[in-house]
Structures are given as structure tokens and as C-alpha cells.
């Protein structure tokens, strides 16, 4: 009798404990562990483990930050975009296609930024059937949205810094982190925007 009730109490206590303990945040443990266990290799230095202000907010809110927080940061990211000094946003779509196909860049096995990895996540040109689906289809990008200056600017800006438009987007900030050069981003913009690009056929 006594034993049984002691057992019950123990169970109740355990239940209480599990309910009452607020979900502990293990992110600090994770970061401590990673900083101890990782090492720099090639171009991938240890500072890559540190969150910047955008990553910190997205991590904290699991990619769903409060509107106000997101708006403020998005504005900052947008303001930091360096637009081409010559005012031209369109390069060579053929070069853009090559950059879109190239999945290399910024890995410890790479020397620098290199490709845009675009086909990893997006459908783009009609002739490449091996495309990913993490991002939306970009096939007929300008044909559907228009060829105007505002759309050009959006395309270039999105490639430069996707977080300026959607704070916790899964798309990298190619210009912001220096993974692609201005010319490469112009070429990619042309791939999406040039009326002669197969994307718009």
C-alpha cells in the first residue's frame, strides 16, 4: 500500500517534472559543441559558425519572426545592396546559364564563390530537366512578370540579397556575401530578363 502510493507519487512527480520543466533552449549547447568540434578548412573559416543579425533572428524564431522585427531587418538588407554603378542590370544570358548550372562556390573544397547553384533549387531554362524544387519555378520569369525596369531591379536585388525581400528566405545572399561578382549577377539577371533568353521563350 505504502509502496504503491510511493510509486504513484514518484510517477506523478516525474510527470510533473516533465510538464513543468519549460522546454530548455539547447541552442547555446549546440553552438558551444560546434565551436569546440569544428575546424577551419580551406576558405571555410570558423567565423562561419557565428550568426549575423539576420541569421540570429531567423534561428531564434525558427524562420518566422514577428512582422516588425522582420521589416526593420529587411529594410537594412535592402539598403545595403550595392547596385551597379553603370546602372545596367542585364549582362549576357548565355554566361548566366553557365553560372546557373554551376553548383560550386563557397565550400571548403572551392577556392571562392563560383557558381550560382540556381538549378539546384529552381526550374529555369526549358532545356534543363534536372532542376530542384526548393525554390519556385523561374521559367518564363519575365514573360509572366514583364520586362520593365522595376522587375529587372527586383531580379537583380533578389539575387544580390534574397533576405531584403523575405527575411528568412532559404535563398543565399549571393551579392551580400560576395559569392557572385556584379558581372555574374548581371548575367543571371539577363538569363531571367532578356527577351532572347530561352527562359522567356
Amino acid at each position: 500500500m505504502r509502496l504503491a502510493s510511493a510509486g504513484l507519487l514518484a510517477v506523478a512527480a516525474a510527470l510533473l517534472a516533465s510538464c513543468a520543466t519549460p522546454q530548455r533552449d539547447y541552442r547555446p549547447d549546440a553552438l558551444t559543441m560546434m565551436k569546440r568540434d569544428f575546424h577551419a578548412r580551406g576558405i571555410a573559416k570558423m567565423d562561419r559558425l557565428d550568426e549575423d543579425n539576420v541569421q540570429a533572428v531567423c534561428n531564434k524564431y525558427r524562420d518566422d519572426p514577428p512582422q516588425g522585427v522582420a521589416d526593420k531587418l529587411q529594410k537594412e538588407q535592402l539598403a545595403a545592396i550595392k547596385w551597379p554603378a553603370d546602372g545596367k542590370l542585364l549582362g549576357d544570358w548565355k554566361a548566366g546559364e553557365r553560372i546557373a548550372q554551376n553548383g560550386r562556390g563557397m565550400m571548403w573544397s572551392d577556392k571562392s564563390g563560383d557558381g550560382g547553384s540556381c538549378y539546384n533549387c529552381h526550374q529555369i531554362g526549358p532545356r534543363e530537366s534536372s532542376f530542384g524544387t526548393i525554390g519556385p519555378s523561374l521559367y518564363q520569369f519575365a514573360k509572366l512578370r514583364g520586362y520593365g525596369a522595376d522587375i529587372q531591379r527586383y531580379a537583380y536585388g533578389k539575387i544580390y540579397n534574397a533576405k531584403a525581400y523575405s527575411l528568412c528566405s532559404q535563398m543565399p545572399r549571393f551579392g551580400h556575401v560576395g559569392a557572385l561578382t556584379e558581372q555574374q549577377m548581371k548575367d543571371l539577371t539577363a538569363l531571367l530578363m532578356d527577351p532572347a533568353s530561352p527562359v522567356n521563350q
Binding site: 553548383g103 539546384n120 530537366s129 534536372s130 530542384g132
Partner: protein, 149 residues
């Protein structure tokens, strides 16, 4: 007793048969000329294959789209009576002739193999049976894959 004798006789017949059909291919040297040919027709010429007749009796089982061109599985069965060998040509490979499988000395005309295919290509099979050649082909597409796995 009966059984043994029959086996011996059949064995003898097989040997005789092989001798009659010309030199057993297994004894021939690895055909360097055919293996180094840069096109399937050239390779076939080097092998002495001519007038191959299209045949539905050769079954080729291979993926329509290969997950990885480095390892493409192929199953080949010849339903042509008295098939003695099967040769495989991956037409778009730099050296199309991939191999010959000889069944004449005691195996069923079936083989499973895995091959490298550099780009989308027909896989052509030539079966030798009764001194004649039969052929069939199947297209295998090779695509760029993902990064994971």
C-alpha cells in the same frame, strides 16, 4: 549408370558442337581492335559481325533514365534458339564495344552487368545464334544528379 553415360555423351556432344561451330570464343584472344574501335559499326566489323537482323527476341532490361551513369544495370536475355554469345555496344561511349558473353559451353543466354555510360546513348546488343547475328537496342538517358545521396 544411365544418368552418367548420358551426361558424358552430352558433354562430348557439347565439345564436338563447340569444335564444329569454329574455335571456341573463350580460347580466342581479347579482341583489341574491336575494343579500341571508336564507333559501334567499326567494332562490329572488327568482331566479324555482319548483317545483324533486328530481333524482338532479345530482351534488354535497363533504366530509361539512369540514376548514375557510372553504374547502369543491364539485364540481357536472348530468346533466340541456340544463342551462343551476346555482345554489348554503348554507342555513344568513346569506345562503344563493352564486351562479349559466351554461353556456348554450358550457360543460359542471360547476363546481368553494370556499365558506365557517359551520355545518353542506345545500348545495342548483338546475339550470335546458328552462325547468324541478331540485334536489338535500348536507349538509356543519363542526367545530372543531385549533390546528396
Amino acid at each position: 549408370m544411365h544418368q552418367t553415360r548420358r551426361t558424358v555423351t552430352m558433354g562430348l556432344l557439347a565439345v564436338l558442337g563447340a569444335a564444329l561451330l569454329g574455335p571456341a570464343r573463350a580460347l580466342a584472344a581479347w579482341n583489341k581492335g574491336a575494343f579500341e574501335a571508336k564507333s559501334a559499326p567499326d567494332a562490329m566489323r572488327a568482331l566479324g559481325v555482319s548483317n545483324a537482323e533486328e530481333s524482338k527476341a532479345i530482351e534488354i532490361r535497363a533504366p530509361e533514365i539512369a540514376e548514375n551513369g557510372a553504374v547502369v544495370p543491364i539485364d540481357i536475355t536472348s530468346n533466340i534458339p541456340s544463342t551462343t554469345s551476346i555482345s554489348v555496344f554503348i554507342e555513344k561511349n568513346p569506345f562503344p564495344y563493352t564486351g562479349t558473353f559466351d554461353f556456348s559451353q554450358g550457360s543460359v543466354p542471360y547476363v546481368h552487368l553494370r556499365v558506365k555510360i557517359g551520355e545518353s546513348s542506345p545500348v545495342r546488343v548483338v546475339a550470335a545464334a546458328g552462325g547468324k547475328y541478331y540485334t536489338s537496342a535500348k536507349e538509356v538517358k543519363v542526367t545530372i544528379g543531385g549533390c546528396g545521396g
